[in-house]
């Protein structure tokens, strides 16, 4: 791993800031490279860290980034775009005012050299964010709020009053809507004054408008219009309800039982204030004409004290039906026995409302008490099934067993129905028994319950499959869907068969589920089966052509690209065994390593790197090695990944300088490394011997590398090709450090000192520089 140290001469044309190095001693192009490798930032802290790095080295860093943009056909710009947009957002944040000018300068310098019009437009949008004061763009220029206001200014109160005299209803209503700006006592009075001369239609509109604005001062006028025919009377009732107050309540209650009954009833339901005392008082003096709406109001508003009136009216044939409907709204627990009595002996038509009333009566009791009330009723009455649904709503285990018993003893359909309404997993086995008797509803409920409640994936699979055996095609599709939340190998194997189903719905459900299962138990599934099944799934989803399915297809493709073939524990070949190689990492553990074991993890047979940049964050062999052959495989999982192998290095230092050297590991094909020096490419003895530049395999594929160190001689071989073969002492003519008094070391290609170059022994290390690379099959032989 090496930060790309710049040769001064190469950047003489850039501003001096290029040479500025940050606290970690990095040059600008190194900073840019480091930031790009971390794009997009995962969270606010990382964003701030990366962007302040870029901003501090602006304008050079920003100009460099802009210069790296290519035309879309030529290569990927996304990381560069993230970085440019990120640093722009950072710099336009008012709290980072101090870096704004430098970032802007970088953008402007860079833009001047851009050819591609799309990239140019992108940079212009970024410049715009930093120059809000210079808005040349024609933003809402022709019609702005001022122009609007001019016409609005012409509207006067008088104008509105005049418009109300028009025959054109649309004209009047629009005038009133504009008059909303005048709402206030002054205008209310003006409006009331001209009110008597208006047509009934206009009056209705004005009354609506008063109600809309809750113009309490106009309530007397509004109340005086209640009882008028048509829209005027209706609007007056609605407006009175919106304004509220005791007079309005009296007036509205007074309209119950008249031709305005429904309007008044609705207004009272929404009445602005508490009407309960008024309704109760009215009920005490109710007549045949208004008792029904009053009882309904009492029930809707839970006025419990009027329950005796409701009970009494149940016995009045005229009002019995309404009274029974209202009972649920007014009963309390102490009346439960009375209601149970009525329910048990009620004619069919009254069963439902009385069930509701009984449920309401006991609803305020605790679960235990509700259950014992129901037990009492079940023992006492013959029509037990009338209580089953209420028993189900209690929801407890003893309620389940009572209902199961009732179902089994009498094959009671009502008990089964009640069981299906329960949200209790204990009902499942009984529902399954019923399902076997061809009860589709019971099967469907069973499937839902299993999928929602079964915590153990293996058990869930077994149960869903037992349902599958007796299911029709429709239920099979549901099961295929539910298998998606059942992440086991068996589940996947079943789904891999179902994606081939001739029933479209089953195949479609299985296609969706197979991806979900694959994601959750990828390690258990044979890679070949997985690929075969998911490719089929993708084809099914693609053929349906829905846009959401298009995303699922993308999802499958992305997922398949990450799937690993099985990785058995690594063992040495007979040949290597005979030669005396030692396995350093066999895919399972890092026992032979020390250092940052949190940032280097054994995952799926490989060392998975999450470590960030820093000398304290590297992974080292426990043993030290002098002359050796070091063999391993590496794979880039993220474009632009950066790491390195430290040779003969102490721990916790920069191996490229204080160790013998660092052999670069870098996805140098990524466009973010456009400015790379020859001695920075993959395989280079960093800063000392440039490697022959290779083209890496596609992301995710494995490459084989050997590093051979003997004395001062280093040989690096990648996929059979020797890319470095040289003596480091010869490479710098023996001058690993600069001559006394010299500005820099003229003998090393990076012009830096390498004080550790002639170390005789040391650790081998992986020198992490962010996520995105994996290593496996690591072994070493001492020479």
């Amino acid at each position: 791993m090496k930060r790309f140290i710049t040769i001064l001469a190469a950047f003489l044309t850039l501003s001096v800031a290029v040479f500025a190095q940050d606290s970690r001693n990095r040059a600008v192009d190194t900073i840019v490279g480091d930031v790009l490798a971390q794009m997009p930032a995962e969270n606010a802290a990382s964003f701030k860290l990366q962007m302040s790095d870029l901003a501090k080295s602006a304008p050079a860093s920003v100009e460099m980034l802009v210069g790296m943009l290519q035309s879309a056909e030529k290569g990927a710009n996304n990381k560069i775009e993230y970085a440019i947009n990120g640093v722009t957002n950072f710099a336009c944040d008012p709290s980072n005012e101090s870096v704004k000018a430098a970032v802007l300068e970088g953008l402007q310098n860079g833009a001047a050299k851009l050819d591609d019009s799309n990239n140019k437009q992108f940079i212009e949008t970024q410049i715009r964010l930093l120059t809000p004061e210079v808005q040349s763009a024609p933003v809402f220029t022709s019609v702005n709020i001022k122009t609007y206001s001019k016409e609005w200014d012409k509207i006067s109160e008088k104008g509105v009053l005049k418009a109300l005299k028009s025959d054109d209803a649309a004209y009047r209503v629009t005038a009133l809507r504009t008059a909303d700006t005048f709402a206030g006592e002054e205008f209310y009075a003006l409006l009331a004054k001209s009110y008597p001369k208006l047509s009934d239609a206009a009056k209705a509109e004005v009354i609506y408008w008063f109600g809309f604005h809750k113009a309490a001062s106009q309530l007397p006028l509004i109340l005086s219009e209640i009882g008028k025919a048509g829209q005027l009377g209706f609007n007056a009732i609605e407006a009175a309800g919106k304004i509220g107050g005791p007079e309005a309540a009296d007036a509205l209650i007074g309209r119950l039982g008249t031709e305005d009954c429904e309007a008044a009833y609705q207004a009272l339901l929404r009445f602005n204030g508490d009407i309960r005392a008024k309704v109760q008082a009215a009920l005490n003096e109710a007549t045949d004409s208004n008792i029904e709406p009053l009882m309904k109001l009492a029930a809707a508003r839970r006025i419990y004290d009027v329950a005796p009136i409701v009970f009494a009216n149940i016995k009045t044939p005229k009002h019995s039906a309404v009274a029974i409907e209202c009972l649920a709204g007014v009963v309390r627990p102490f009346q439960a026995d009375k209601v149970a009595e009525m329910l048990a002996s009620a004619p069919t038509a009254n069963i439902a409302p009385l069930q509701a009333a009984y449920a309401a009566a006991i609803s305020k009791l605790g679960v235990g008490e509700r259950y014992s009330q129901l037990r009492k009723a079940l023992v006492k009455f013959d029509n037990k099934e009338r209580f089953y649904d209420i028993l189900a709503s209690v929801g407890t285990e003893n309620a389940v067993s009572d209902l199961v018993e009732a179902y089994k003893a009498n094959a009671s359909a009502a008990a089964l129905q009640a069981l299906m309404k329960m949200n209790n997993y204990s009902t499942a086995s009984t529902l399954f028994e019923a399902a076997k008797q061809n009860n589709e509803a019971a099967l469907s409920r069973f499937i839902t319950l299993v999928a929602a409640n079964e915590k153990n994936a293996d058990r869930m699979y077994t149960k869903l499959m037992s349902a599958f055996e007796i299911a029709g095609d429709k239920a099979k599709a549901v099961i295929a869907n539910k298998l998606g939340s059942c992440p086991t190998l068996d589940s996947f194997i079943t789904l891999s068969q179902l994606v081939g189903s001739s029933d479209k719905d089953i195949a479609y459900a299985a296609a969706n589920s197979s991806l979900a299962v694959a994601k959750n138990c990828v390690d258990d599934i044979d890679a070949a089966l997985l690929k075969e099944c998911l490719n089929k799934a993708a084809a099914i989803l693609k053929s349906t052509g829905d846009s959401d399915d298009g995303y699922a297809v993308d999802d499958i493709k992305n997922f398949l690209s990450t799937v690993e073939e099985d990785s058995p524990v690594f063992t040495l070949s007979d040949e290597e065994k005979a030669e005396g190689f030692e396995v350093l990492f066999d895919g399972t553990n890092l026992d032979k390593w020390t250092g940052n074991k949190e940032g280097y993890l054994p995952v799926n047979g490989a060392i998975y790197v999450t470590a960030q940049y820093g000398n304290e964050r590297n992974l080292y062999t426990i043993k030290e090695y002098k002359d050796f052959v070091f063999r391993f495989e590496f794979s880039f999982v993220r474009a632009g990944a950066n790491n390195g192998v430290g040779i003969r290095t102490p721990m916790g230092v920069d191996a490229a300088y204080d160790g013998m050297c660092e052999i670069q590991i870098l996805d140098h094909d990524d466009p973010i490394y456009a400015n790379l020096k020859p001695y920075q490419v993959h395989g280079s003895v960093y800063g000392v011997i440039p490697a022959k530049r290779i083209v890496h395999k596609p992301l995710g594929e494995w490459s084989y590398e050997e590093i051979r160190v003997k004395g001062n001689h280093i040989t690096v071989t990648v996929n059979g090709e020797v890319i470095v073969d040289g003596d480091i002492k010869e490479a710098c003519k023996g001058h690993n450090v600069k001559a006394k008094g010299a500005e820099s070391n003229e003998y090393t290609v990076d012009h830096r000192d390498h004080p550790g170059m002639f170390n005789k022994t040391g650790h081998i290390g992986f020198l992490g520089h962010g996520a995105g690379v994996k290593f496996r099959n690591v072994r070493v032989k001492e020479l």
Partner: protein
């Protein structure tokens, strides 16, 4: 407590109102009777016609005949509300819609390529805007100016500034506007398991205390559709001959064509929309605004926790938190958000309501039943058009909830916390953020708004 009916006119008219009043006082012009509105604002209803009679048949034209425009919910035609015109810039979409209308027996359709022609078609009463969001503002304003009523799909607009312009244009021209989401007045509200009405009553009663925190999260029964993300490094493709890409882009910045930018997947690009947040945001947030009585109010702060966003392609986020001046919060919990324990949907100092309306207040439904029902809402769009009433979800409360969504979009795109001034609907001390409030439009399109 406010309700949705209370207009938020102070927003547009606050400054104007004061200046107008002082002007009236000084000049006495207010006494002079001036015409309130030019008659032309009534479009085809002009001088010789009156309001549409209740028995009259309304007509509508749909702009944008892709997914939503052609969905069975919208692609309807009956005696009270007849479909007469279609417009699209994709000839295949347009042909498909005409064919669909034919098979459904809707009768002859007028077809248009340019939305302005549909808007100015005298046979069209209501303009149904079913395009991607980058067109919503322009088309709604243009329709309002032509004297047409508007049915607009969510999200209302893709910038705060465009939302403001729509609100002004609708008001100024006396039009009826319906934003198409509906959970504030009908249907089961996702994880709540009921309509919002009982929760509205509970909140209004003060039984949960104040201020309240609302969590819109997977854990409370909502899904943010994170598959609406864009792709980076798109390699330009050639534009299909049947597709007018330039007109499809309209006010959006020119970028080379790629299929993924357009039909079905446009939500993944900031130029046209804002991913799952913009897709589902108004569905989920508008009812919350109603429940909290915030139809007249805006949050004062938006904070985000998210991976860095790409400047073009929409990405995912972990959480977005909005805070109102009175301490109420709306927290959107997204991808990778780890909530602790059981997550309440709405939480106040005195009580909590969880998914499925499970509540810490015993017998909560009885308690709720004792409370007055909320004020009536005008939920019949055809009736609103005929009687010129404001629809339940209109240009004003719609602008407010769309602005909440757009505040989140701005914060995501800038990777930072933003402070908002409800009085001016701009971000405080953040000129760059305010550039996202009013965004430039390509070519001459900005002049239409």
């Amino acid at each position: 407590m406010y309700n949705c009916e209370l207009y938020a006119y102070h927003i547009i008219f606050n400054t104007m109102d004061q200046s107008r009043r002082s002007f009236l006082k000084k000049s006495g012009v207010g006494i002079a009777a001036l015409t309130i509105l030019p008659r032309r604002v009534f479009g085809k209803m002009g001088t010789d016609s009156s309001i549409i009679a209740p028995s009259d048949q309304l007509t509508k034209g749909i702009i944008g005949t892709g997914g939503i425009g052609k969905s069975s919910y919208h692609f309807t035609s009956d005696q009270s509300y007849r479909l007469v015109a279609l417009c699209d810039v994709d000839q295949k979409h347009l042909d498909g819609a005409v064919e669909l209308a034919r098979t459904k027996g809707f009768g002859e359709m007028a077809t248009y390529h340019d939305f302005r022609d549909l808007i100015h078609d005298p046979n069209v009463d209501v303009v149904h805007v079913a395009t991607p969001p980058h067109w919503h503002g322009l088309m709604s304003c243009e329709a309002a100016r032509a004297g047409k009523d508007v049915w607009c799909e969510k999200p209302m607009t893709r910038t705060i500034g465009e939302g403001k312009r729509v609100m002004e244009a609708i008001k100024r021209n006396g039009r009826v506007f319906r934003l198409n989401t509906w959970f504030r007045f009908k249907d089961t509200f996702y994880g709540l398991g009921t309509k919002v009405e009982p929760l509205k009553k509970l909140v209004d009663s003060g039984l949960l205390g104040w201020p309240l925190t609302v969590r819109i999260s997977g854990a409370t029964g909502f899904a943010w559709k994170f598959y609406w993300v864009g792709k980076e490094n798109l390699i330009p493709e050639s534009v299909p001959e049947y597709f007018d890409y330039d007109m499809w882009l309209g006010p959006a910045p020119y970028k080379p064509y790629h299929l993924h930018r357009t039909h079905q997947t446009f939500r993944g690009y900031w130029d046209y929309d804002g991913g799952g947040l913009a897709d589902m945001g108004q569905h989920y947030i508008d009812p919350v605004q109603y429940i909290l009585g915030k139809d007249n109010d805006f949050p004062v702060k938006v904070e985000i926790d998210a991976p860095q966003q790409h400047p073009d392609a929409v990405g995912t986020w972990r959480s977005i938190t909005y805070t109102y001046a009175d301490g109420c919060k709306i927290i959107l919990e997204g991808q990778g958000y780890e909530s602790e324990g059981k997550v309440p949907y709405i939480e106040g100092p005195k009580g909590k309501v969880f998914q499925g309306f499970e509540c810490t207040i015993p017998n909560v439904m009885d308690v709720i039943n004792e409370l007055p029902d909320p004020a009536p809402q005008n939920t019949d769009f055809v009736d609103c058009v005929k009687t010129r009433k404001n629809f339940a979800l209109n240009e004003i409360n719609g602008f407010h909830s769309a602005t909440i969504v757009n505040m989140g979009v701005c914060a995501l795109r800038l990777n930072r916390t933003l402070n908002f001034d409800p009085a001016t609907q701009t971000f405080i001390n953040d000129p760059a953020a305010n550039l996202l409030v009013n965004q430039p439009m390509r070519g001459e399109w900005g002049k239409l708004l």
